[in-house]
């Protein structure tokens, strides 16, 4: 029987060994930036499949999240006769927290899982090995463009999510519940600070973009090349991304607003 302490030690070693491998992998993928610059077409293709194809889910989700915020916000604010500040509540919630966090969660579910499955299947069907033997480096050809596409897409998607949410809040607050239109926009304009709110939100979404795409491409590349291995790697991508997003959000929020 294996001693529980030994088991713990083995798990810890495996974890740190994998973490180290993931960091070396990230460094290698980032280093490929220079060769990617020479072939921007690879990046553009991935911006389409990672970013543009995530557009619809971000658009619709952002709209509904904003509408719910409008409803809940109005319900609470009306108790204090402060319905005019609904725009501030909706915008601040979105650009500071919900935009980056929910968009990143959706992004990991939609694009992250697809990246892991795609790379994992390429590995399982020896396509990556085949590339290596054709003297094509899969890190440069497959991983780097996907990583940078994720990093660039995430802040844009989060911004679109926030914008749609603000519109959703407007439709519910102003359109349905009778909040004054001028107050909705002017309060938002005067209370939302560009650097404290918007830039911090962009920084958050950038960090989430790096982490989620890194997890996704690493899990695919490091997956066991079987159908079960790829399935597990895809699940790990979504679960680990969710933990990373929520954990990092706390840390970043504490640093930015604490």
């Amino acid at each position: 029987m294996v001693n529980p302490v030994q088991m713990l030690g083995r798990s810890a070693l495996t974890f740190f060994e994998r973490l180290g491998r993931a960091h070396l992998f990230l460094m290698d993928a980032l280093w490929g930036f220079f060769s990617m610059v020479m072939r921007p077409r690879l990046l553009v293709q991935q911006l389409y499949s990672v970013g543009v194809l995530s557009f619809l889910i971000i658009l619709i989700s952002g709209l509904f999240v904003g509408m719910v915020l409008g409803l809940q916000g109005h319900y609470i604010l009306s108790n204090f006769g402060a319905e005019e500040t609904l725009g501030v509540l909706v915008a601040a919630s979105l650009v500071r927290e919900l935009g980056p966090v929910v968009a990143a969660l959706l992004f990991s579910g939609r694009a992250g899982s697809a990246l892991t499955a795609e790379i994992g299947l390429m590995k399982a069907t020896e396509q990556l090995s085949g590339m290596e033997m054709m003297a094509v480096d899969p890190m440069r050809r497959i991983i780097t463009p996907r990583l940078f596409a994720g990093i660039l897409s995430m802040p844009l998607l989060a911004a679109i999510f926030s914008m749609m949410g603000i519109l959703g809040g407007y439709f519910v607050g102003v359109g349905l519940l009778g909040v004054d239109e001028g107050a909705y926009w002017s309060q938002m304009q005067s209370k939302i600070d560009f650097s404290a709110d918007i830039i911090n939100g962009v920084i958050k979404s950038f960090v989430f973009g790096v982490v989620v795409t890194w997890i996704a491409v690493f899990e695919g590349y490091d997956s066991i090349p079987t159908s079960e291995g790829v399935s597990r790697a895809t699940t790990r991508t979504v679960v680990h991304s969710a933990f990373a997003i929520l954990g990092l959000d706390f840390v970043l929020t504490a640093l930015m607003f604490g």
Binding site: T125, E126, Q127, S129, G130, E132, M133, M134, A135, V136, D137, R141
Partner: protein, 272 residues
């Protein structure tokens, strides 16, 4: 092995040791691949034949020993030099390893487009030439999922020779093929080797087909080379192991049964 001029050796494997975890795969194998010849690496399943190809291609690193390609130690090369060297190698994977989201034409064009700046009209001509060589010019618009196993391997072969490599390695090219596809592949390997002046390494356990085209054969088992020679020399070998393998006998020095306690002891022990 017959006396061969050093310059005629394209790949030289010396004292090769390799292990997966704690399981040794190679423990001191020595192999020479001659230029312009078809060299077969044969042996029972699980003896590391595919691993040997990956070691030669620099995809795996030996724990001890050296593999030289044109006199250069593959595993001491930098990453960029290794990738440059691989342009001289083609490899036909057992699965074909075609890129699944692009057509047959684009698969064959892939290495040409990646490594050259040739105009598209020339790429088109080159791809058609390669596909013509494997008899699949008419299938250029098909996607990989529309191909049979044999066709996929022929496309992979066309892709493997796209950059006119010095050497091409075949990983179990005959496995799972119907007799017609198998016959086509056997002929193609021989034809392409002779017509293009290639060096071919065929890893296989299909004795009849491999022996029919190989110039030289290495029999590998238990991590070492058991026997090597021309097909005639191996057929005339007095080694029981060689005869068992070449004639496909169920029992002999390589046992039919996996090592176990005696049958009687096992039955008497009951369910544990």
């Amino acid at each position: 092995m017959n006396q061969v001029d050093d310059n005629d050796i394209l790949v030289r494997v010396r004292d090769l040791h390799f292990q997966r975890g704690t399981r040794p795969i190679f423990s001191g194998a020595n192999i020479d691949i001659q230029r312009g010849k078809i060299t077969a690496i044969m042996g029972p399943s699980g003896t590391g034949k595919t691993t040997l190809l990956k070691l030669i291609g620099g995809q795996l690193k030996p724990t001890q020993g050296a593999i030289e390609f044109e006199g250069e130690n593959i595993h001491q090369l930098s990453r960029s030099k290794l990738y440059k060297l691989r342009r001289k190698m083609g490899m036909l994977f057992q699965s074909g390893a075609l890129l699944t989201d692009i057509s047959v034409f684009d698969n064959v064009a892939y290495p040409i487009r990646e490594h050259t700046n040739l105009p598209e009209s020339l790429v088109h001509h080159l791809v058609l030439m390669k596909l013509q060589a494997v008899g699949l010019r008419g299938a250029r618009h098909l996607m990989p999922n529309e191909l049979s196993g044999g066709m996929a391997r022929r496309v992979a072969l066309a892709r493997g020779i796209a950059l006119d490599p010095t050497m091409i390695m075949y990983d179990e090219p005959f496995t799972g093929q119907d007799p017609i596809s198998m016959g086509v592949l056997v002929q193609l390997i021989k034809l392409i080797n002779d017509a293009l002046g290639l060096t071919s390494v065929v890893v296989s356990h299909d004795v009849q087909e491999t022996v029919s085209i190989a110039d030289y054969i290495y029999l590998v088992s238990g991590g070492v080379v058991i026997e090597h020679g021309t097909p005639e020399q191996l057929n005339a070998s007095t080694s029981e192991w060689v005869q068992q393998f070449m004639q496909g006998l169920a029992d002999g020095p390589a046992h039919f049964h996996y090592p176990a306690e005696t049958y009687l002891d096992d039955l008497q022990a009951g369910v544990k």
